[in-house]
């Protein structure tokens, strides 16, 4: 059974985020505007004003309150949605942890932007990285269509009875939030159909007035340990669930994304570039040109960042001769980029091969074609036993 063809619109990533949320029929929405996400919050308000979206739209006084509003509404039983970026995300930090620990299936968009400290109104994945230990599921997309599709998949993942976890859908601020592309918007009835399986599942615990049940009790000793253990086991289950949902989405809507990771021309590849977000698009083009020059290179696109897709990465990278990881963020306390640092924990399973860390594309700087060509050349050299540099901040060397 296939979904009907949707309406195609040429709209920006932000607008796509609003459409993606709207067609999933959220009941309580709270969003505080922040560059580069503002258009998303405005578009949602417009949908409500036009009667297109029947939801409680709460004009909160700050992102911390935005997260608290959707958290509590979700615990009361509502489907909820919010969106933020950078400064807003770190301002939510305590509420982020409560949302995940209360196991509230909130779906949030994060238009990635550099975090405060060095003030910057520019793209970078530092905000996602800085929230990786809050217990949320974090997924990163590459283009506008994927924003919409991933939001739909995010509800089916978050509200799944076996998961019950909030999901953060990340897309690059500026590079995607302002990028206009032709995007197919599926009919809302088809989205209902795709999300219908959730209704056959047992109901999750809800907070109801007059019922002597309390949310957020103190976890005393083993009570605390048990709740954390259940949370981590749910995160483990997320990995296969992401793959299952991707398949179901592809079977129904006709678009597959690979689930936890996408493997592009990796079958016979000897060297791999690991990338995520919009940069992965550019990497595809350079992989193709390099292939024509006879270099056996492939790309692994990381979609699921939390939980880290260890098993799929080991399977995809085992036996390769060298890997180059492009991080669009940095890891305070390590010289490698964060995704590279996490990949290195799998080195014992992948094999004692060179894993080169590249930090690029910070603060709206481009992960451009020459940079990616350089990455592939150096990784290729390392694969042939030539000396290589473990960590390269590409912009610093230009």
């Amino acid at each position: 059974m296939k979904a009907k063809k949707g309406q195609v619109r040429v709209i920006t990533g932000n607008a796509v985020g609003a459409y993606g949320a709207m067609i999933c029929r959220p009941e309580v929405v709270a969003a505080y505007p922040i560059t580069p996400q503002s258009e998303l919050a405005e578009q949602l308000a417009q949908f409500v004003a036009n009667g297109v979206l029947d939801a409680e739209y709460v004009e909160v006084e700050g992102e911390n309150s935005a997260m608290n509003v959707v958290l509590a509404a979700s615990i009361a039983g509502a489907r909820t949605f919010t969106a933020t970026s950078s400064y807003g995300l770190v301002f939510m930090y305590d509420a982020l942890q409560e949302t995940a620990s209360f196991r509230a299936p909130v779906v949030m968009v994060d238009a990635n932007r550099e975090t405060p400290g060095i003030h910057a109104v520019s793209s970078g994945q530092q905000d996602m990285i800085s929230a990786r230990d809050t217990g949320w599921v974090q997924i990163v997309v590459e283009n506008d269509q994927e924003i919409l599709d991933q939001i739909i998949m995010a509800y089916r993942l978050a509200e799944d009875y076996d998961i019950q976890l909030p999901v953060m859908v990340n897309y690059d601020g500026f590079y995607l939030s302002y990028l206009a592309e032709a995007v197919e918007i599926p009919p809302i009835e088809d989205v209902d159909t795709f999300l219908a399986p959730l209704k056959q599942q047992p109901g999750r615990q809800k907070l109801v007035p007059g019922v002597s049940i309390g949310c957020g009790t103190h976890g005393m000793e083993m009570g605390y340990v048990e709740a954390r253990y259940k949370h981590c086991m749910a995160l483990e289950r997320v990995k296969n669930k992401v793959d299952e949902i991707d398949k179901a989405f592809g079977d129904y809507f006709g678009r597959y994304y690979g689930g936890q990771i996408e493997e592009y021309r990796t079958e016979d590849a000897e060297i791999i570039v690991l990338a995520s977000g919009s940069a992965a698009g550019t990497v595809r083009t350079v992989v193709d040109t390099k292939r024509e020059e006879g270099v056996k290179v492939g790309m692994v696109k990381l979609r699921l960042f939390r939980p880290f897709p260890a098993e799929r990465l080991i399977k995809a990278l085992k036996g390769k001769k060298a890997i180059g990881v492009i991080d669009r963020s940095l890891c305070f306390g390590w010289k490698y980029g964060p995704i590279c640092m996490e990949l290195k924990t799998l080195a014992v399973n992948i094999g004692a091969i060179p894993i080169l860390s590249y930090i690029d594309g910070l603060a709206n700087l481009d992960v451009n074609v020459p940079h990616i060509e350089r990455v592939i050349n150096e990784v290729n050299a390392a694969a042939q036993g030539k000396p290589y540099q473990e960590v390269t901040w590409i912009p610093m060397e230009e």
């Binding site: 019950q164 976890g219 048990e226």
Partner: protein, 98 residues
């Protein structure tokens, strides 16, 4: 990993359920004094019961009596009684009651 722990929560996260387990402290043991009523003076106005923070004064029909399982011996009932009908008596006086 062999899990030996028996689940405390039926839910995924930390929820309490008063129907399943209503907690209660033996606050009566915190007391160093207890209220003793002189029924002659009492006119059943109930202010002692209204002002009692643990709300542990039982309505006995024509006077109120503190539930000694919970009374913390704060002495507010004695202070607030408009007819000074309540005296606070050291627990030691009742030690032999066991």
């Amino acid at each position: 990993m062999v899990i030996k722990h028996k689940n405390i929560f039926k839910t995924e996260s930390a929820w309490s359920n008063a129907d399943e387990k209503l907690l209660c402290l033996d606050t009566g043991s915190w007391r160093t004094e207890r209220p003793v009523l002189d029924k002659e003076k009492c006119n059943y106005c109930g202010l002692c019961a209204l002002y009692c923070p643990p709300q542990c004064m039982k309505d006995m029909g024509d006077y109120f009596e503190a539930d000694l399982a919970f009374c913390k011996g704060c002495g507010i009932c004695a202070t607030e009684c408009p007819r000074n009908a309540i005296a606070m008596v050291p627990e030691g006086e009742f030690a032999d009651e066991g």
